[in-house]
């Protein structure tokens, strides 16, 4: 079964819930190498999106993602705002006004989202940012899709790779964002944005799985 606007909306609502549950955990990650607001930023941003979704009117996955993008940009407050905002905006552009998302389109919108984060933040893999979750996620998604996986399976592959990528940020030294102020002392802590990216992609896989 291909993914629809209904799934896209369910995904964003699930993000809001999951990020609320992980609010404190993300704050603690950000306290260690940042300014202790990533959990708050993400919770507020997605809550604002949910409030807009409640008003209805988004007919395509692309429209849901565009609304998500625009709202995150104005409500998150931290670096995650323009970064996730750009990710969802590029995903929306990649999907256009398609009503359904097949496995290739899943890889397409994930790739566009990742490229958006790179364009906005200019981080490279290994800089200890959310890119270190998104890049393996995009690669795993591509591999799964080439092997004939379903849309749900592609998202599951992406989510697993993102979580592994987030864990793998722990030994890294930050070279972008606030954590880079800490230099070598940023090593030994997981990047909060990489972790929230993994949670968001897991929510994508979970909601897609439930709709099947």
């Amino acid at each position: 079964m291909a993914l629809t606007a209904q799934w896209a909306e369910a995904w964003i609502r699930e993000c809001s819930q999951v990020l609320t549950e992980h609010r404190t955990a993300l704050i603690e990650l950000d306290r260690a190498i940042g300014d202790a607001d990533h959990g708050e930023n993400m919770q507020r941003g997605f809550a604002a999106v949910v409030a807009k979704l409640d008003a209805g009117g988004q007919e395509t996955p692309g429209a849901v993602f565009k609304l998500t993008a625009m709202t995150l940009m104005s409500t998150v407050g931290g670096a995650a705002g323009p970064l996730y905002g750009t990710a969802f905006l590029r995903a929306a552009t990649a999907l256009g006004d398609a009503a359904e998302i097949d496995p290739a389109a899943v890889v397409g919108f994930l790739t566009a989202a990742r490229d958006g984060v790179v364009a906005r933040g200019k981080a490279e893999p290994g800089d200890k940012t959310m890119i270190d979750a998104w890049t393996p996620a995009v690669e795993a998604a591509g591999t799964a899709q080439s092997a004939g996986a379903s849309a749900v399976e592609v998202l599951e592959a992406a989510a697993n790779a993102a979580q592994a990528g987030a864990l793998a940020t722990e030994p890294l030294i930050a070279r972008k964002g606030r954590a880079s102020y800490l230099g070598e002392r940023s090593a030994g802590h997981r990047d909060p944005g990489a972790q929230s990216s993994a949670l968001i992609l897991q929510a994508a896989a979970d909601t897609a799985g439930r709709q099947q």
Binding site: D35, E40, S74, G77, A79, G81, P82, L83, G85, G121
Partner: protein, 130 residues
């Protein structure tokens, strides 16, 4: 008319303070604040919406120079520019400058009728205080 300035800071106090400081030497320059988030009470952070309305406030036709504090303010500002029509955007500069020092230097340059490029480069040259 002069080039306008927008001060994007994570802290609304910093944005307001920079404006009072820069305005002393440049009473005729329009300087607009985009400080803190747009929810109320405003948190420490930046907001696309606030940058958008500050740009509208500062622009009088001769262009705007945007000054930012931390990296995420730069990203918010860059994103805001992407939503502008090309001709508006072509009159906006986002120099790599120290916020307070750059804003004062830029304001003085704007006050004396500098172009948007001259104002931006005055900001970039003001790395530490005079």
């Amino acid at each position: 008319m002069t080039v306008g300035l927008v001060i994007v800071s994570h802290s609304s106090k910093i944005a307001e303070g920079v404006i009072e400081l820069a305005a002393q030497m440049a009473p005729n320059v329009r300087i607009a604040a985009a400080g803190g988030t747009s929810d109320s009470p405003s948190r420490i952070g930046t907001s696309l919406e606030k940058v958008q309305s500050a740009l509208e406030e500062a622009e009088q036709g001769d262009g705007v120079v945007v000054l930012t504090d931390l990296g995420s303010a730069v990203m918010t500002a860059e994103m805001t520019l992407e939503f502008l029509p090309p001709d508006t955007r072509s009159r906006i500069r986002l120099p790599q400058a120290a916020l307070v020092e750059g804003a004062v230097a830029a304001a003085v340059q704007a006050e004396s009728g500098g172009t948007v490029d001259e104002v931006a480069s005055a900001a970039e040259r003001a790395v530490v205080s005079i």
